[in-house]
């Protein structure tokens, strides 16, 4: 097959661009351990509301200042609907749904996951900026989808409420 000289240059350049893309994904994977987010853990959607963990969703602040946030997403709200987490510490979100698929998106951050009945979603992130964030459902879940939201407040650690209690609860 005869390929025109200029088209040959173009082909190599096209392959080069793709290789640059692949190398940048590969380099962040190896160098910074930036992997595709993933978590494999099952839960019976019928038991979510009585589950020891998801039946009592909320925020737990650990000794080292890191936090675990357990969230139940259902038609059409998040529980808890006000989430307080420390700034600059790893925050692990654990979420599930008792009914249909929802999304959990912390607006203007890359905190974003699907919340699927039968499965537990989990991701860990660190907030570098204190303040109030909007959390929205970004997967259509029914006629009230557009009102499904929550508030996430990132505050300095130790937080005013936690300081008096000596952390943990």
């Amino acid at each position: 097959m005869n390929v025109d000289f200029y088209e040959k240059i173009w082909m190599w350049a096209a392959a080069g661009i793709i290789i640059v893309f692949l190398v940048s994904i590969g380099a962040t994977f190896v160098g910074q351990a930036i992997q595709p987010p993933s978590h494999v853990e099952m839960i019976d959607p019928d038991n979510v509301r009585t589950d020891a963990e998801f039946g009592q969703p909320g925020v737990t602040i650990h000794e080292d200042g890191s936090a675990t946030v357990v969230v139940q997403a259902f038609m059409f709200a998040f529980l808890p609907n006000e989430i307080r987490v420390p700034r600059g510490r790893p925050v692990t979100f654990r979420l599930t749904s008792p009914d249909v698929i929802h999304g959990f998106q912390i607006v203007q951050t890359n905190g974003n996951t699907m919340v699927v009945p039968g499965y537990v979603s989990q991701f860990t992130t660190t907030f570098s900026r204190a303040g109030e964030y909007l959390v929205v459902c970004n997967e259509y879940c029914g006629l009230g989808h557009h009102v499904m939201s929550a508030k996430l407040i990132v505050e300095e650690f130790p937080t005013s409420t936690e300081a008096g209690m000596g952390g943990g609860r």
Partner: protein, 540 residues
């Protein structure tokens, strides 16, 4: 006059009617998202219209147009009547019945599950059965096309496969590989569950099967557009195809690369392991390659056209192109838009960046550039070229036809740029309104949704022009003999170069092996894990 004209026209009229209804749904949504208070604006109507717009545009308009155009390609490029004409008509009616069932379920508010229909959102069984019939009808079409090719091949064992047929065979292979996934989802999971035969359904298994289908689906939309870019537009422009073997290479690369990539739609899903997401992420980036080749070959073909008309300088060949002919301008504008959409696709496929934009308005901004323009505007351009020839009538309202592609281009730029930006600011896709209790962050989306609504109005006017020209031509176009349907000649006949690219059986084997590598193990692993299904909620 070609023999399968009635068959082709039947398919085209279904496509154009679906397009017209879907365009009306679209403008309502664009205005609604700008928080304009319109009559009948309710959440129920909004989500119903999102479902109807998605299904009618992405599944009905595209599939029927592709089938109709396929019959024309098969008969004209192979130079013989299509095989199995009865099966062809039967398939058309099966697909039409499926369409009617789906449309009934949606418009009668029994299937507001959006066009991705993720369980456990539960629609009326008619919705799933209709979708299955549409796919079965399309399989009938595939067989008619393949059979026509085989008969031609037996009569012409030494001849090269005509390029438009080569591209269509690639389309068919991609479609069959893709629909295996969705057929499994609909027939094994959704239909029994919606009929109450099974009680629970695994939403992640359904999503894996859906996206097995959902990504190659975009190449099912794109490849017939590429057939038009390679084999129709260079001739319309007055030139020749720059390179025939490279076009064949592009089609073969799509056969191989289209399917083993679906997990890049599921980067943020639980229950799918990170390693498989990474594997699909790497595969996805390579799909840019054949599209980058296409950009060179097709633009070089346009340059040939300009030079044949006397252009001598570096860029003056652009001025010689027939920008006033909607059959040309549609495709040229669609290509410009697709260049932007392609790079957006590379961003979506990179999981680090994907987390910023997943399920935001960015996504609708993206696919309105690709399927909504690269494919849809190309099909409109092809309709301006083909419909007069099939009807033996002159194009009616030709002034509207001339401005229509430019209106679409301008409207789409406004719509899409605005949605990309509001998406980056975090606005979710598919929401009826975004007050969120007076949130200041959500307030920032307001300007963007206004620009998007303005773009939506441009697009609606453009769609009305297209529909008016089509129905006007069909009903009132002046009867006059039209030029024959002929495809672009290559600058140099392929001769016996790169014959291996015509060996579809070989490429099917490679593609199946890749699909197995990408899906067999993760699905088996998933099925072997203890899972709890979800029960299902009719949410409308």
């Amino acid at each position: 006059m070609i023999e399968s004209r009635k068959l082709a026209l039947a398919n085209f009229w279904v496509a154009i009617s679906a397009f017209a209804i879907a365009a009306g749904m679209a403008v309502m949504q664009a205005l609604s998202r700008a928080n304009l208070d319109l009559p009948w604006r309710t959440a129920k109507m909004y989500y119903l219209s999102v479902t109807a717009h998605g299904v009618l545009m992405a599944l009905i308009f595209t599939t029927f147009f592709i089938m109709g155009f396929g019959y024309v390609v098969a008969e004209r490029a192979l130079g013989r009547p299509i095989a199995q004409r009865k099966l062809a008509w039967g398939s058309f009616y099966v697909a039409l019945l499926g369409t009617v069932l789906v449309a009934w379920a949606i418009l009668w508010n029994k299937a507001t599950v959006l066009y991705t229909f993720y369980p456990p959102l539960k629609a009326h069984p008619a919705f799933y059965i209709g979708a299955a019939l549409l796919v079965i009808g399309s399989w009938g079409w595939c067989w008619v096309m393949v059979r026509s090719y085989i008969l031609w091949k037996q009569a012409n064992p030494e001849a090269r496969t005509p390029l438009p047929v080569h591209g269509y065979l690639a389309t068919i292979i991609v479609w069959i590989l893709a629909t295996v996934g969705v057929a499994a989802e609909v027939v094994l999971l959704l239909i029994p569950w919606s009929l109450g035969i099974t009680e629970r359904i695994d939403p992640i298994l359904a999503r894996i099967l859906f996206w097995w289908f959902g990504h190659p689906l975009v190449y099912f939309w794109l490849l017939p557009a590429y057939v038009i870019w390679y084999t129709v537009t260079p001739r319309v422009a007055g030139g020749k195809l720059f390179s025939d073997p490279l076009a064949r290479l592009v089609f073969v690369l799509f056969i191989v690369l289209s399917t083993p990539v679906g997990f890049h739609h599921q980067f943020l899903d639980p229950g799918v392991r990170a390693g498989w997401k990474l594997f699909h992420a790497f595969n996805t980036q390579w799909i840019l390659f054949p599209s980058l080749l296409t950009a060179f070959t097709v633009i070089a073909s346009f340059e040939i056209a300009g030079r044949l008309k006397g252009a001598r300088g570096y860029l003056d060949w652009l001025e010689e192109l027939p920008w006033g002919d909607p059959a040309f301008s549609s495709v040229a504008l669609a290509m410009i838009i697709f260049a932007v959409g392609g790079f957006g696709g590379a961003i979506n496929a990179s999981y680090g960046m994907n987390a910023m934009i997943h399920n935001t308005a960015w996504v609708q901004g993206h696919f309105h550039l690709t399927v909504g323009t690269a494919t849809a505007l190309t099909f409109m351009g092809a309709a301006y070229w083909l419909m007069p020839k099939l009807l033996d009538r002159e194009l009616e309202l030709s002034l509207l036809a001339r401005i229509q592609p430019y209106l679409w281009f301008g409207g789409m730029l406004l719509f899409s740029v605005a949605n990309h930006l509001t998406g980056l600011k975090g606005m979710p896709r598919r929401i009826y309104q975004f007050d969120y209790g007076g949130s200041e962050v959500a307030d920032q989306w307001m300007g963007g949704t206004g620009i998007s609504a303005l773009g939506g109005v441009f697009l609606f006017v453009s769609a009305l022009c297209f529909v008016a020209v089509m129905f006007g031509t069909g009903l009132a176009g002046k009867r006059a003999p039209q030029a024959d349907i002929e495809f672009a000649e290559p600058l140099e006949e392929p001769g016996s170069k790169a014959r291996i690219l015509d060996r579809m059986g070989l490429w099917v084997v490679v593609a199946v092996a890749l699909v197995a590598a990408a899906y067999a193990y993760p699905i088996i692993q998933h099925l072997a894990t203890e899972r709890f299904g979800a029960r299902g909620v009719p949410v409308f």
